[in-house]
Every structure is written in C-alpha cells, then in structure tokens.
C-alpha cells in the first residue's frame, strides 16, 4: 500500500531529473518510505538475502566467464586454470558454487515462510506464482551451471536429466536429441548450456523485479496474517528493515563463509573432480543437495513416464497453491491443525532429500527397511499435503481468534507517542 509520495526534490538538478525520470522518487517511495508491517520477523528477511545472492551469483559468474572456456576439450582445464592461476580465482569459484547452495537454502526458507504465513493467499496470488516461476528458473539455471565444469557428475547428471524427456510419448527421443544437439551429451550441449546459463539469471532478475512490483501493490504480508489497517501498523522500510535485513544477511554470510573458506567442497560430489568420461558411469549419480527431494520423487515411481510426470508435478503443484488452500485465515499461527501438517511437510522434504541422496536399493541405516518405501510414503505425503490436506483442513479447521490489529498486537492498545519516521 503506497500512498502519495512525500518526496520533494530540493535542488535544480533533482527537480530536472524528477520531471524526466523519477528514479529518486521511485527509490524513496519503494525502498525507503515504503510502509512495512512492524511485526515482520526473521523469516521475512530472506527476500533481501535472496536479492543479495542473486547479485553475488551474477557478479561472480560474469567474472568466471572471463576465464572459462565452454568447449568440452578445455572446460575442465579452464576450471583448474581458474582455481590455480587466476588471481583469487579459487575464491570466486568457491563463492559461485557455494553461493548457489546458499541461494537455494534461502529460497527454501523463503518458500516455507510463504506456506506458513499464507503469503500466497489473496490478493497475493500472482506474487506467489511469480515466485514459483523464479524458483523454476533457479532450478534450470543451477542445472545448466552444474554441467559447465564438465566433470563426471556434470556429464552424467546432464545425461540423466535430458534423457527424462524420452518419456514423452512419440516425440520423446527427437526432443532429447534436439536438447542435446547430438546423440549424447557432448560439446554442442555444453556450448548451448553455457549460453543459456549466462542468459537465464538476467531473465530471473526481470521476474524478480515483477515479483517485487507485485508485492508492493498490496504490501507485505506479516506473521499475524491480518491486513494493515492504519499507519500505526507499519514503519517505513528504511531504516527499520534495511538495518534488520542487513543484520540477518550478515548472520547468513557467516554461515556462507564457513562453507566457502573451511568446507568449500562439502556440498559437491567428489566425482565432479574427475574429467567427464562418456565411457565410464560413476557408481552413483547424485544431483546437488537442493535437487535431492525431486530425485527421490522421480525414483519412487517405477514407471518411467509417471516418474517424470511426478517430478515435474512436484514443482508444478506449487503454482496452484493459492487456490488449493480454502482457509479464510492466512497465518498458521492461528491454524493449529494446518500448522501440524505444515511441519510434517517440512520434515517430509528433509526425508525426501535423505532418500534421494542414497542408492535406490539402500536400506535405512542398519535396518532392513528399504529407503525406497520410505521415499514412496514421503512422496505420497508431499502431494497429499497440497491435495487433499490443504483444501480440507482449510475448509474444516477451526482457527484461533485473530488479533484486531498489528499495532495492538505489537505495541499494546494504549495510544503511543511513536517514533517519527526520519
């Protein structure tokens, strides 16, 4: 909810600029004065964290592209050149590789936040859909990027994912060959993956702009899930949320730095330190950790086509969430039944990830319980959470009483002499 702008250009130059391209007014309105609910908690800081990491990935990626050679015979060598010879090359490479993992960690927390507080509900349906679109672009970009070092896992993950499309009836194999530019994943595939990997982050940035625009029309949701009713409910984004977001970003960067500087290869597969060899398949083909739940869902269905449909369906179902939840109440804080199912869903995703990390015929720890069955149950719950749990719980649950306003909930009902906005 943005009211009329209070920006007054003070100098001749700023007046001139404001009449032609009101960029300062825009910044003041949307990044500084923007009224934001005063009760946002830590889980609401991940949007800012994501924006930072998008910038980081683009900056480090462009720099890496100055030294990388996207040719199958030289790609692996060029990565070693970056790691060993390029000034600070090792740092930039590790920032980019681990930055991708942090990017996904942040986006998962961001999405879970949305599911918990009902941020996808009216009037923010399009905001959510744009968000899922961003997530899909992230998945695609990450997959393309992982191929570029041309290690064993790069080659074989690309082989597995492109061959999924052979499940399409009739035209499957021609699609696979069209994607690959050949019969197997080889130089033509690498070259086009590089081109697309460079392109998609900018498409993504454009969708992020739409995402923030769509957010600024209704304004932010908040942990209580109730609408802003008066200016007492909000504070200006700057300095309140700039400093708060910076604080949480800084905490997150500590975690990031631990990985980059002390465990830089912990999240990647050792097989990718070996040059790609189309004649030798690695013993286990495992995707990066952020794809493991999808991998588990794919492998839990014995039929190839149904497995592929389930894989894409697991992502696709997210687009429909605004219409799957029939509750009148947004925030899970006041939805005791939904809350339980939500946390079960979070645990379910972690379980799916665990299953996806292991071979298909593995058993749980030292027992003889096949992980495959755990995975199947977990996959079933994954889809059940969206349908029928979301609609049925939403319709029949008795929510707890909502507070009457954000301000009263935060500040108490006595009239306040509140801090004037700087």
């Amino acid at each position: 909810m943005s009211g009329p702008s209070t920006y007054q250009p003070k100098t001749a130059f700023t007046r001139w600029l404001d009449e032609r391209l009101p960029i300062i007014r825009f910044t003041q309105e949307h990044l500084m004065a923007f009224p934001t609910p005063r009760n946002l908690n830590v889980w609401y800081s991940f949007g800012g964290i994501l924006a930072f990491f998008l910038g980081l990935q683009i900056a480090t990626g462009i720099v890496l592209a100055m030294h990388y050679t996207p040719d199958a015979a030289r790609a692996f060598d060029s990565i070693e050149h970056i790691m060993r010879d390029v000034n600070s090359g090792w740092l930039i490479r590790y920032l980019h590789a681990n930055g991708a993992s942090m990017f996904f960690l942040a986006v998962y927390i961001h999405m879970f936040r949305g599911l918990y507080y009902g941020s996808y509900k009216a009037p923010r349906e399009l905001l959510w859909i744009l968000g899922v679109l961003i997530y899909a672009l992230m998945i695609l970009t990450a997959f393309l990027g992982y191929t570029l070092p041309w290690g064993q896992m790069s080659l074989w993950a690309a082989t597995v994912i492109t061959s999924l499309f052979s499940a399409v009836p009739g035209i499957g194999q021609p699609i696979v060959e069209w994607l690959r530019g050949g019969f197997g994943v080889d130089n033509p595939t690498l070259n086009r993956f590089f081109s697309l990997h460079y392109l998609l982050p900018f498409v993504l940035a454009g969708v992020v702009a739409l995402h923030i625009w769509a957010l600024h029309v209704p304004g932010n949701n908040n942990p209580l899930g109730i609408d802003v009713k008066s200016p007492r409910d909000t504070v200006p984004f700057h300095p309140y949320y700039t400093v708060k977001d910076l604080f949480y970003l800084s905490c997150f960067l500590i975690l990031f730095s631990v990985f980059v500087f002390f465990a830089p290869d912990a999240l990647s597969s050792p097989d990718n330190a070996e040059r790609a060899n189309p004649l030798v398949t690695p013993p286990e083909i495992v995707p990066e950790w952020y794809f493991l739940p999808y991998y588990a869902i794919l492998r839990s269905i014995p039929n190839k086509l149904m497995g592929v449909i389930a894989l894409f369906g697991a992502l696709g179902v997210l687009f429909f969430v605004p219409w799957l939840d029939w509750s009148k109440v947004r925030s899970a804080r006041f939805r005791p039944v939904y809350k339980q199912f939500f946390w079960l869903f979070v645990a379910d995703c972690v379980i799916l990830g665990y299953v996806g990390a292991h071979p298909v015929d593995a058993t749980l720890l030292n027992t003889s319980i096949p992980l495959l069955w755990i995975g199947r149950i977990a996959a079933l719950y994954y889809f059940a959470f969206f349908f029928p749990i979301m609609p049925l719980v939403g319709k029949h649950e008795k929510p707890n009483p909502l507070p009457d306003s954000i301000a009263n909930s935060v500040l108490g009902s006595a009239p306040q002499r509140s801090e004037t906005a700087p």
Partner: protein
C-alpha cells in the same frame, strides 16, 4: 537476540549438513561390484582410515618438510605411471607449497624433457620419428609418463593409472583415502574373495581388488632429510603432497577465511546493536 542469530546459524548448519553428510555417507559405504547390475559376492569396501592429517583441521597447514618428502616419493616412485598434469614446476616454489627456491625449480625443470615446438624446418619429429624434445622450464607442467591413455593402459595390463593432480578431491576421504590405499596392501582376502590375476587385494579400494601393485616398500626412497622411510611414512608424505597438489590454495584460503569470519562477527554485532538502536521502543 544474539542467541537467535546463533540458533539461526546452527539451524542452517544442521539443515544443510544433513543432506551433505548423507551424500558423503552414500558415496562412502558402497558395496563392491559393478554399478546397478546384480552383484555376486558382496564385500564391503572399507571406508578410509584416518591418517590424522593436521592440514585437515580448520587451522591446519601443510607440513613443508612432509610436502618435500612426498614430492620425492612422487618423483621417484609414482611418476613412473601417474601423471601430475595440473602442476607446473613453478608451483613448487609457490607460497603454501613445498617451498622450493626458484633456483631449485629451474634446476629441477631443466632435468626434464618436454616436447619442443616445430623447429625452423617446421618438423616436430627427428629423422627416427622421435618427437623433438627440449629441456623444461619452470613454466612447463610435469610431463606425463605416457603420451595418451592407450599407451598407459598398454603398459599397465589394461588398467589406467589416474592422473594424481586432483585425486584427493575426486575420492571420498581425500588424503585419508590415498593413505589407506597405500598402507592397505598385504592383508589376507576374506573367504569367498578370489583375487584375479594381475590384481591385488586392498580392502580400501572399490571392488577390493586393485590393479596397482603395492608401490611402496620400506626405503623405496632415501629421504633427503634423513627421515626413516617406512611404508607408513612414505604413504603419509605422498598423501600430504597430493593434498597440496589438489588444493594448493588451502593455506591462503583458511587464512583469508579466518579474517573474513572475524570481520563478519564484529560487523554482525555492530549491525545487531544498530538494529536494536533503530528499533528501540518499536517492538
């Protein structure tokens, strides 16, 4: 609120560590045999045993003397079959490495022969068909023992000795893996395991049968610094050297990380206090 940040950080670490550990566990505990095909006798490959390498700890550095000894082991034993393609002679003088002097590097390089470019007549081979060679310079990389994969296999009963520049990044356990393999020979295979001809039993190698004959013996090398050259010592030193070969920037990386994290801890505290100051009375 600082506790919140701590919980926050720990939660992330936990959420991320679970899949990371799962991945590691997955790759480590794999039964012997071929890929997804039905496996006959299942013998578990042993996970690598720890060599207690100091450089693996967060503040660890490479033992310079060990690096030099390990380089000697590589040069005198391993380089007969294993290439070290990504290491140039000049890297041996780099900071954070074995610490040879530039003169030592120049002398060392000059003792190697590498293919020379075309001569003035444009020829790359001499009258006998032998490739024209020249002395190596520090900017050259270590020349491989075999010109291509086929020649390597032909000399090694069809097995391909892998390049060692990245071997410790490419195997779960890293230095511990190399150390375990090199010290893992000489054990009796369990009942039911028949060691094929041309192969050797080694429980740390995937499939427990390795094509490489035991490369190290006591006093395979005579260490320049006088250290007693037991198999364990040689294995430890070459595992250290190969750890550096795979990760020459490790010391610089940890040094930088230390500074960055201290900076971030201080900066985060300042931000926390700023946050509290800005929000005073607004919560």
């Amino acid at each position: 609120m600082n506790a919140k940040c701590l919980v926050f950080t720990v939660l992330f670490a936990a959420i991320v560590a679970v899949p990371a550990c799962a991945q590691e566990a997955a790759s480590a505990s794999v039964p012997a045999g071929q890929g997804a095909a039905p496996r006959p006798v299942e013998v578990e490959t042993l996970p690598p045993r720890s060599g207690n390498f100091f450089f693996e700890s967060p503040f660890g550095t490479y033992d310079r003397a060990s690096l030099q000894r390990g380089f000697q082991v590589y040069r005198e034993v391993c380089s007969a079959c294993h290439s070290l393609n990504y290491i140039a002679f000049r890297n041996l003088a780099d900071e954070g490495g074995p610490g040879l002097t530039p003169e030592q590097v120049r002398a060392l390089a000059a003792a190697y022969r590498v293919p020379a470019g075309p001569n003035e007549q444009g020829q790359t081979v001499d009258a006998n068909g032998q490739t024209l060679m020249r002395s190596a310079t520090p900017s050259d990389r270590f020349p491989p023992p075999f010109p291509n994969e086929q020649a390597a296999r032909a000399s090694n009963n069809g097995a391909l000795p892998p390049d060692l520049s990245l071997i410790e990044k490419a195997r779960v356990g890293g230095a511990n893996y190399v150390y375990s393999i090199l010290t893992g020979y000489g054990q009796q295979p369990p009942a039911g395991v028949t060691v094929g001809s041309g192969r050797f039993y080694n429980p740390y190698f995937r499939g427990v049968q390795i094509s490489m004959p035991p490369p190290l013996n006591p006093d395979s090398v005579t260490y320049a610094d006088g250290t007693m050259a037991t198999v364990e010592q040689e294995a430890r030193d070459v595992a250290t050297f190969l750890a550096w070969a795979a990760d020459p920037k490790m010391e610089e990386r940890k040094r930088t990380g230390f500074v960055v994290i201290i900076f971030l801890l201080v900066f985060t505290s300042l931000l926390y206090f700023s946050y509290q100051r800005v929000w005073y009375g607004q919560h």
